[in-house]
């Protein structure tokens, strides 16, 4: 099976070479058969990558410990669930998994557009094949997942060996989130390849108009959704497993996942400027190029240890390959841009400071500043060593001090931007749209202040959350009222009807609402508290309104580990609330690996987060570390809302009342007669 797998990978490499070279030849000669064969080579590449991936999984499921990758990332006791996850638990498998997910996207694109956009698709196919080729090169010739184990015998001759059992999966990865977090994040990373391929393809082909943006909107949103999901799942994993009471530590790997999300979010907004007003074309193209490069860099940072190496941790030899690939990509992008920059001329200019255009402009500026701040902070050790010889790293205060104000400004724009009119907004419309939300926000902020909330940023954040939520709810209310006047249905039914008529606009509002919840949860972090105590059975400790009493301890053998549990009872006002079982896990095998399982009692108000921190060496008593983290649940809830909103925005509109030119405004169909074409564009609203 390993030979079969590596042969499939090699064939995939050959097909990708053909898709690239044949594709270029097809573009030059415009021979229809060549176009078709290049496309089919692209499809074959994808099929062969699937085959290779299934081979590796097969080796995991058959416990084939003659394969180096299987032996070092699995063992016989590992459950089937984690044998799937073992695929992406190391370098070689991760790279193959990258190719696998990319192949899913590429195949979908090739099939969806096989008979459409004949001018553009050969270019797109070539770009996609180029990206695939890079990862296949790594999988075939640098980090092959199918390497067999070999050892030198007594006579010095190397021969194949099979180990009786494998090393097992890293203990930190044996949690359900770790099974779904990497696929989400990688789906995000790989998914941005599609808008990148279309943008670069359109630029190379001088493909007219904004068609590439319409074609890629859904792909971009899907990638964005996975990326958002992946980031939040990663944060949740860090929260529930690492046991340090927080969910975000500005670790290089976390930052790497945030960077393309920031530029990708900026891109999703700024393309609207191009769709509606024909502006910011150069900007959009470069945003999507940057997003793709950051995705590659994210994979690179995660996998190569270039930044971790500053922390004296594992290094790898794939670094130069990634740097080379990013260099080539940048050179191709720059070349295409310089050659065809006249094609990206803006059709309009900014008119007013208080307009939709300027809100998009500032939105993009802020996202980019955040991205630059995170990027520079993450790479600071690398650059400072180049320039001064000293490896200097920056910590959380650096990231927080820049990103908290930027985040709050973006939150403010989330409320304001969608309600500003294109070109210029009248004072009257400002009053109408923002009067009530502003009032409600100020009242809530003042009440919070009176109740003793003194953390500056958190109070501002609370005010903004209420303000933005009010503007969104007001929008739903107004729209529903218009429909209700005609249909007489209930308000919720009208709101659903409204959403289904313009999914893009109202799905966008739902996403914004989800982000409001996320921000609300983040604001709670200013009020985190923690207590640590070494306890005997029967001892109590107090945190907030909770009393924790240690009731006992036990030991629970599981399939792959032994859990040492503490039985902690949580009481509130002397009434029992819940039994909590924080545990330490000792994993089987000769690794002696330990894991922590945090026990969390989560409410909308706060999380009671209890960690069994270990045994006090002096007293031999267990140490319990308890945290009280307000509002954390809202972050995860916000994430669910964001995903729901994205799915709504991806749905087609239920009916279009006005017939608009489909090529220009496929999603702009509005039930109300003030929907006009983009050339006039006086209407308000977010779509």
């Amino acid at each position: 099976m390993d030979v079969f797998g590596s042969f499939a990978l090699l064939l995939a490499f050959v097909c990708a070479v053909y898709a690239l070279v044949g594709g270029i030849a097809a573009i030059v000669t415009r021979h229809p058969l060549l176009v078709k064969s290049a496309r089919q080579a692209g499809m074959a590449t994808c099929g062969l990558i699937f085959l290779a991936t299934f081979c590796l999984e097969y080796l995991f499921f058959t416990d084939n410990f003659s394969i180096a990758y299987v032996a070092s990332h699995s063992n016989r006791d590992l459950s089937a669930f984690y044998k799937i996850a073992a695929l992406w638990s190391g370098m070689e498998g991760s790279l193959l998994f990258w190719s696998f997910l990319l192949a899913v996207y590429v195949l979908s694109v090739l099939i969806t557009y096989r008979n459409k956009n004949g001018e553009l698709m050969p270019y797109v196919g070539v770009v996609m094949a180029g990206v695939q080729l890079f990862f296949l090169t790594l999988s075939n010739f640098v980090e092959s997942p199918f390497k067999a184990l070999a050892a030198a015998g007594p006579d010095g001759v190397m021969s194949f060996v099979t180990r009786p059992d494998g090393n097992g999966l890293n203990a930190l990865l044996q949690y359900p989130e770790m099974v779904i977090h990497p696929p989400n994040l990688y789906s995000g990373y790989t998914g941005f390849t599609i808008p990148f391929a279309f943008a670069l393809g359109a630029l190379l082909a001088r493909y007219p108009g904004e068609k590439w943006i319409h074609l890629t909107r859904k792909w971009t949103m899907i990638a964005w959704m996975f990326q958002s999901c992946g980031i939040l799942l990663g944060a949740h994993w860090a929260y529930a497993v690492l046991g340090w009471g927080g969910y975000w530590g500005w670790d290089p790997v976390e930052n790497a996942s945030l960077l393309p999300w920031l530029t990708g979010t900026a891109f999703l907004h700024s393309v609207m400027m191009q769709e509606k007003r024909g502006m910011m074309k150069v900007w959009n193209v470069w945003l999507v190029f940057t997003t793709f490069l950051l995705c590659i860099m994210g994979t690179f940072l995660t996998r190569s240890g270039v930044v971790s190496s500053v922390h004296a941790f594992a290094q790898s030899n794939i670094g130069p390959w990634f740097v080379g690939f990013m260099g080539i990509t940048l050179a191709v992008c720059l070349g295409a841009y310089l050659k065809n920059s006249d094609y990206l001329k803006s059709e309009n200019h900014l008119d007013s400071l208080i307009s939709r255009e300027s809100s998009f402009l500032f939105n993009n500026l802020l996202f980019l500043v955040a991205c630059l701040a995170v990027l520079s902070g993450t790479l600071f050790p690398v650059f400072s060593e180049w320039f001064s010889g000293n490896r200097i790293s920056v910590g959380a205060p650096y990231f927080n001090i820049v990103n908290i104000p930027v985040g709050l400004l973006i939150l403010f724009l989330t409320g304001v931007g969608p309600l500003l009119a294109w070109r210029k907004t009248s004072t009257e419309s400002l009053k109408r749209n923002f009067g009530w939300p502003l009032l409600i926000g100020v009242v809530v902020g003042a009440v919070a202040f009176a109740l003793g909330f003194r953390a500056f940023f958190s109070t501002v954040c609370l005010f903004l959350c209420v303000f933005v939520a009010s503007t969104i709810l007001l929008e739903f209310y107004r729209g529903a009222k218009v429909i209700r006047a005609r249909s007489g249905a209930s308000y919720p039914a009208c709101a659903i009807d409204l959403t289904m008529r313009n999914t893009r606009r109202y799905g966008g509002y739902i996403i914004h609402m989800g982000m409001v919840f996320v921000f609300l949860g983040l604001a709670g972090a200013a009020f985190n508290r923690d207590v640590q105590k070494s306890m005997r059975v029967g001892d109590t400790m107090q945190i907030g309104r909770y009393t924790l009493m240690l009731q006992g301890a036990d030991s629970k053998p599981e399939q792959n580990y032994t859990a040492q549990r503490m039985l902690v009872e949580a009481l509130s006002d002397n009434k029992p609330v819940m039994m909590l079982f924080p545990e330490k896990r000792r994993f089987a095998g000769n690794n002696q690996e330990n894991g922590t399982m945090v026990a969390i009692y989560s409410t909308w108000k706060e999380d009671l987060y209890v960690v069994f921190a270990g045994i006090d060496p002096e007293t031999r008593e267990p140490v319990i570390h308890a945290f009280l983290n307000p509002l954390v649940k809202w972050i995860w809830f916000g994430g669910v809302v964001v995903v729901f909103g994205t799915i709504v925005a991806l749905l087609p509109n239920r009916r279009s009342v006005l017939v608009l030119a489909p090529a220009q405004q496929p999603a702009g169909a509005q039930p109300l007669p003030h929907a006009v074409t983009s050339s006039v564009a006086f209407r308000e609203g977010h779509d």
Binding site: S89, M91, G246, A314, S316, N390, I392, V402, N594, P617
Partner: protein
């Protein structure tokens, strides 16, 4: 230049000023944050050659935990980091429990200050188990897998 051109210029100037204010303000904040949190990375061998001002800086030092050197006493943990043939005694007095991966022979990264007696006073300790079979690099699973005592930052 016509009247339209002038108003256009004026508007662009307005945008320029707005953007400028935001960028300068955030740049200033970044500079503040940099000053507050910059940390120098040194190897154990480098520590001895540092001058007195460099010794006062906040720093990170990486090394391997010497076998049998971990001593837990009330409120603090002492251990010895080894690297490049040199040794560095470390005291960790932070309130956060040490990570599960912190054991003999694990690779550890300590962050804090160098005390006047040459003992390193650590505020944070990160640790990663030495790889078992896989001597070659690349066996790591997401850099984040290194556990740490880093407190919540948000």
């Amino acid at each position: 230049m016509g009247l339209g051109g002038k108003t256009k210029m004026k508007k662009q100037a307005k945008f320029g000023i707005g953007i400028g204010i935001i960028v300068v303000a955030l740049g200033f904040l970044a500079w503040l944050g940099y000053g507050e949190s910059k940390t120098y990375y040194h190897t154990i061998a480098e520590l001895q050659g540092l001058n007195s001002s460099a010794r006062a800086q906040r720093m990170r030092v990486g090394g391997t935990v010497a076998i049998g050197s971990i001593r837990r006493t009330a409120g603090r943990v002492d251990f010895v980091l080894e690297g490049e043939g040199k040794a560095l005694p470390v005291s960790y007095g932070g309130s956060d429990p040490l990570p599960d991966t912190f054991v003999d022979k694990s690779q550890a990264l300590v962050e804090g200050h160098l005390g006047p007696d040459g003992r390193f006073v650590a505020e944070h300790v990160q640790a990663k188990c030495a790889s078992k079979y896989e001597a070659a690099p690349g066996g790591d699973t997401k850099g984040a897998a290194a556990s740490s005592t880093q407190p919540s930052t948000m």
